[in-house]
């Protein structure tokens, strides 16, 4: 391998290494838009149509047992206010903001999901042990930022209610 080929190889590796970095720095990569589909959403009309209408928020159980949680972050609340997920199951989180930049952090874990208006943020979470977690906003979002907290309840898998089609789980349903 000559020097010229090695140089091209190193540059290619560096360029490819940037792709996973986009997850953490929210860099807009047109190629990823093309591959994964657009994640753009209008923050002003979340309540009118689409996947963030209010009866679609909360925990959704797919037919194959997979779990999806949909949330809205807004000044100064996470909606739904208390979410319920089964332990030991990969949880697919989809969250968007209705106004400002927020950041959803689960106290006691390493998870910290940045939430931007106009974009659906996605994350794969897994909570191995049952318990109650406080979720807080870690991006200063305005006058009520310090009270912007909600709850996450992780229950053993057998205690998680069986959801019918169209039904969404939350703490009240338990």
């Amino acid at each position: 391998m000559n020097w010229r080929k090695l140089r091209i190889f190193i540059l290619t590796v560096l360029a490819l290494a940037l792709i996973p970095a986009t997850r953490y720095y929210q860099i807009d990569v047109p190629l990823l838009h093309f591959l994964k589909g657009s994640r753009a959403i209008d923050p002003l009309t979340l309540h009118l149509a689409g996947e963030f209408v209010e009866n679609n928020l909360g925990t959704e159980q797919g037919a194959d047992g997979s779990v999806t949680v949909r949330m809205i972050a807004q000044q100064y609340l996470f909606v739904p206010h208390c979410i319920l997920v089964p332990a030991g199951v990969p949880v697919h989180l989809r969250i968007t903001s209705a106004d400002a930049v927020h950041s959803l952090a689960f106290n006691g874990t390493d998870y910290n999901v940045k939430v931007l208006p106009g974009t659906i943020s996605e994350a794969q979470l897994r909570f191995s042990n049952p318990g109650d977690f406080k979720t807080v906003c870690r991006e200063f979002c305005g006058a009520g930022h310090y009270a912007m907290r909600s709850e996450l309840k992780v229950v053993p898998r057998e205690q998680f209610p069986v959801l019918r089609a169209g039904e969404r789980g939350n703490c009240a349903a338990q």
Partner: protein
């Protein structure tokens, strides 16, 4: 075994007509119809048809306050002269910003907020009437004229409640995730469509908090008030209603320390 399987398959292909595509077609139709049924079974629950797009805001700000003043003669019977109601259960409209009253009238019109009195009234108004009315009420001063000697329902806050209310107004409750009221209802910050609570009737504030908590009023976009109100205890709702009913809402809340 492999060789045998291959020969069998080849024989089949040569022998008769291949029906395997039929199974595929049946599977496609079945999954398609199942997906249709699944998507049909979840009707969307829309809290309000209003969204704060630039067009909406331009429409709400297009009114003429003089024409609104003439139209507002109809509203005075309940909402009072110059927007101050002497009935505790009817909201004061003086100084409430344009977007708030505009949204509530639109919601009454589309039956997203229910009221036997307001629904037919809102239906009888044209969009121009609504814009003119909100322009008038937004211009009125927040506090009544000192020479106005009508009897206004002034709730005197219970001293044991006052500390609780002012703490919730200025700090909220981080432990339960209740944001401070003043960060959206003023005077610290406002949001489009959120009423200023500078001088609101306590009885009305209480009835609305209870309606939000009980779900009988559900026109808040993205559910902030339904969530917060159901987190509050009954005592706290009462305390907040007294606090705002006494006209304390214009000063930034100062905590007495006692909780």
């Amino acid at each position: 075994m492999r060789v045998k399987g291959e020969t069998v398959r080849r024989n089949k292909r040569q022998g008769g007509y291949d029906w395997s595509f039929l199974w595929l077609a049946v599977a496609v139709v079945a999954t398609g119809s199942m997906m249709l049924v699944a998507s049909d079974s979840v009707p969307e629950r829309i809290p309000s048809y209003v969204s704060w797009t630039p067009e909406t805001i331009a429409a709400a700000y297009s009114g003429d306050d003089f024409r609104g003043m003439l139209l507002a003669k109809r509203c005075e019977h309940c909402h009072g002269a110059e927007g101050f109601s002497d009935r505790g259960s009817t909201p004061n409209l003086a100084g409430i910003d344009r977007l708030t009253i505009w949204k509530e009238l639109e919601d009454f019109r589309s039956r997203k907020r229910t009221s036997r009195v307001m629904e037919p009234i809102a239906e009888s108004l044209s969009s121009r009437d609504v814009a003119d009315l909100v322009a008038y009420y937004a211009r009125l001063p927040v506090f009544a004229d000192l020479q106005d000697n009508r009897n206004f329902p002034q709730a005197r806050p219970d001293p044991s409640h006052a500390g609780m209310a002012s703490h919730l107004v200025s700090f909220g409750d981080g432990g339960r995730g209740i944001p401070p009221c003043q960060s959206c209802h003023g005077p610290v910050a406002y949001r489009p469509g959120v009423p200023s609570l500078a001088n609101q009737n306590g009885e009305y504030v209480l009835s609305q908090l209870e309606a939000f908590a009980g779900g009988t009023r559900a026109n808040d976009i993205n559910m902030p008030m339904r969530t917060i109100s159901s987190l509050l205890t009954e005592d706290e709702r009462q305390a907040l209603a007294e606090y705002y009913g006494a006209g304390l809402g214009l000063q930034p809340g100062s905590s007495s320390g006692a909780r």
